[in-house]
Assembly symmetry: C2
Homo-oligomer: 243 residues x 2
């Protein structure tokens, strides 16, 4: 049966990819992805055929994969982090309904909640949630509702896509919502360009977030009510005490 | 500076480990962990010194790492999945306050939320949360509060440690809470022994969960209100429509 590999490449550095991901890339005839991530693959794949589409052209990118697989080319679709976390896996399954003779093989990767956490210390060492602040595909009301629920449930919160040039001020809006529902005193931190050149990490306060240099390559971590700073690291204990 | 590597080994199969994790294991003089996971490391590390402590002796396990590092032995502490997700990273930082000349290096791994999702399809392709049902270190009231918040926020929910021989019936209790707060119609699924011999996965209904064969090596996925079954896979769309 024909097969497309949908690969989570982790933060970008080859040593943070799994063996399964590297094997699938080695076997591919064509590697498809968003250009920023294709460019990170490096020398090892420089002789491979590559294909990219810009952001918001994800459907075209996925369709290209299926059309090439139909021609018996071995296709690897890469996503940054994990392929199934805000990645292309679900769209591939949806489009795949029209290509039932092509098998989809998702190869997981290290998502930013894990790679960023390892830099900051151990911020996600108890129950946590991931929330994307991008309102391109999600109504803002839904994002706000999830931030509220996450604070009320005392989850550690990992924020993806905090803001960008076209979505300025979003992390400040999120910080305001978290504060409004009682999370204003939580320890937080962020990591930019995880595992790549120019990596930067910082531990800070909720009220600092709006003025920090946070862009679309930054992941933000908001602790739960137990999260503390230990020896300069952000640490969420495994043990929750009765209060 | 002396260094301890705290390694997420993923589900257990070497091809699902990162290059950084394998390098750290290769460099180690002693590999420390829970015996079940040490046994999964396989032939490649059969000549290494190993040390294990049973469950609930995690503090002793961590202390052993620091004591051996003080003796200039290179120590690798392994955790299943990711070292910072219900793993040893936070406890190591807490104990590390008494060993300030030893650096801790967390190497992320593929946690079950990602590896299990890749088997089921794309269930965590939008905002999601992780909740452990173990009330050994967390009061049950807190777990219940988080389940309630997760349903109210319409998160996809990934359940770790769903039940065990000493915690029978817990997944049924969680299913009841999810139903009580309006999530009874959600698509769900589970994966047992992810990436290992005897792997089993199934997509089912919330009301089925209490009667399924779910143990401590099983990860359970509860969809959000948009999650659907596509060609036999559990898929949470990237796009959230206004309702």
């Amino acid at each position: 049966m024909k097969r497309i590999d949908i690969i989570g490449m982790g933060p970008g550095r080859e040593s943070m990819m799994t063996g399964d991901a590297i094997k699938a890339l080695d076997e591919a005839d064509i590697i498809v992805g968003y250009k920023v991530y294709l460019d990170q693959l490096g020398e090892r794949y420089s002789n491979k055929e590559m294909y990219d589409t810009p952001m918001r052209k994800e459907r075209e990118r996925c369709l290209y994969c299926f059309e090439k697989a139909k021609e018996n080319r071995q296709v690897a679709l890469i996503c940054s982090g994990d392929a199934g976390v805000y990645g292309m896996a679900s769209l591939m399954y949806e489009i795949g309904e029209s290509y039932k003779d092509i098998e989809l093989n998702v190869i997981p990767g290290i998502t930013a909640a894990l790679s960023g956490a390892a830099i900051l210390g151990a911020p996600v060492n108890h129950d946590f949630c991931l929330i994307s602040l991008s309102d391109v595909l999600t109504p803002w009301e839904k994002i706000e509702k999830r931030l509220k629920a996450a604070v009320e449930g005392d989850f550690v919160i990992v924020i993806y896509n905090p803001q960008s040039r076209s979505r300025k001020g979003y992390i400040g809006r999120a910080a305001d919502i978290i504060t409004q529902y009682g999370g204003g005193a939580r320890v937080c931190g962020y990591v930019r360009n995880i595992g790549r050149d120019g990596m930067l990490s910082r531990i800070c306060k909720i009220s600092d977030l709006e003025n920090e240099d946070i862009d679309m390559f930054t992941t933000v971590f908001i602790g739960n009510s137990d999260t503390k700073i230990v020896n300069g690291k952000m640490v969420t204990p495994r043990i929750v005490h009765e209060r």
